[in-house]
Amino acid sequence: MSSDRNLGSAHSGTVEWMLQRLTALYLALFLLFLGVRLAFVPPRSYEQWRTLWSGNLIRVSTLVFALGLLGHAWIGLRSVFRDYIRLAAVRLLVELTVGCVLMAQALWAFRILWR
């Protein structure tokens, strides 16, 4: 058990907590919209599927969805690491790795949408 280091408060955590809720709200709304759209006007072919993502509005909102999802995952995973990984060096290494993977996925999402 590491000791209480008496360093005071980190004065952080609230923004993460708010972002977690904000992204959750956006993810839910976007998934609802997408679900309804695909249920009522299902694309019949690859071409129709592609034209669905041809407009900039849907591209931008899908990119925001992807970034929101990755941000949501980042905050959630960091919270889990803070719970269970006691060694700061190990935790920073794990966080760095996960952060790199999530950023690569963000770039990948961008490439898919604007190919």
């Binding site: 058990m1 590491s2 000791s3 209480d4 005071g8 408060s9 980190a10 004065h11 952080s12 955590g13 609230t14 923004v15 993460e16 907590w17 708010m18 919270s79 803070r82 719970d83 269970y84």
Partner: protein, 231 residues
């Protein structure tokens, strides 16, 4: 009634074990604490804490059949046989059912659990309107028995950094007090990924509180206050 009671004596060096006891129904214990006192009369080496025997002092919080309760206000009729009694989880055991509450009290102390008011001291007392006083209901009743914090997985993992539900409920109690003049400072001290945000709303605290209080709600209120301050 059969009892299986956690026994541990650090002086012998033997690992902890469960000892069986039997109490006959004609001995008529009503509450669990009475049964424990009957057992202690037979085996005086059994150690546990108890004092007021009416759910006010908070000394006899124990883990009974897997759930934290106050022995003195737990009717035996509510418990299934055999009754397994262990010390509060997550705290170092001193002996048998007696745990070292130091980590719990240390976190309690960090929230400065006293009224801070720089105004000149009044002759008699600092008055509050009945409405303002009502905001303390559901907060001031805490008896610091430790049942909530020792039922909280987040407190088990990070007892030295996460304040725990009991201390956070008390933090809310002083944030809500209109006579207190350190609301901002108190919020500053709480705004920390470990101190406050280790809570994942598991809600064991509200589930086990023998006084029926809800620390989860207090934590939500503190987070809302912090969020309001940001926007």
């Amino acid at each position: 009634m059969r009892f299986r009671i956690y026994r541990y004596d650090p002086e012998t060096g033997a690992p902890p074990w469960l000892q069986e006891f039997h109490i006959d129904a004609d001995e008529h214990p009503v509450m669990l604490l009475e049964a424990l006192l009957l057992i202690k009369a037979r085996d005086e080496s059994l150690a546990f804490r108890a004092s007021c025997r009416e759910g006010v002092c908070g000394s006899d919080a124990l883990n009974v059949n897997g759930r934290n309760r106050l022995a003195c206000i737990t009717p035996l009729s509510d418990l299934s046989d055999p009754i397994e009694i262990r010390p509060l989880p997550g705290l170092p055991v001193i002996r048998d059912l007696v745990v070292d509450m130091t980590p719990f009290y240390r976190q309690y102390r960090t929230i400065r659990p006293w009224l801070i008011n720089d105004d000149p001291e009044p002759e008699i007392e600092r008055f509050q309107s009945p409405e303002n006083r009502a905001t303390l209901n559901g907060l001031y009743e805490c008896i610091l028995c430790g049942a909530c914090s020792t039922a909280c997985p987040s407190f088990w993992w990070n007892p030295e950094r996460f304040l725990g539900p009991a201390a956070l409920l008390q933090a809310h109690r002083f944030l809500a007090d209109t006579r207190d003049q350190r609301t901002g400072e108190r919020l500053d001290a709480l705004e920390d990924p470990y101190r406050l945000y280790r809570c994942h709303t598991i809600m064991n605290c509200a589930e086990v509180c023998p006084k029926g209080l809800n620390p989860s709600r207090s934590i939500a209120v503190i987070r809302q206050m912090l969020a309001k301050r940001r926007i």
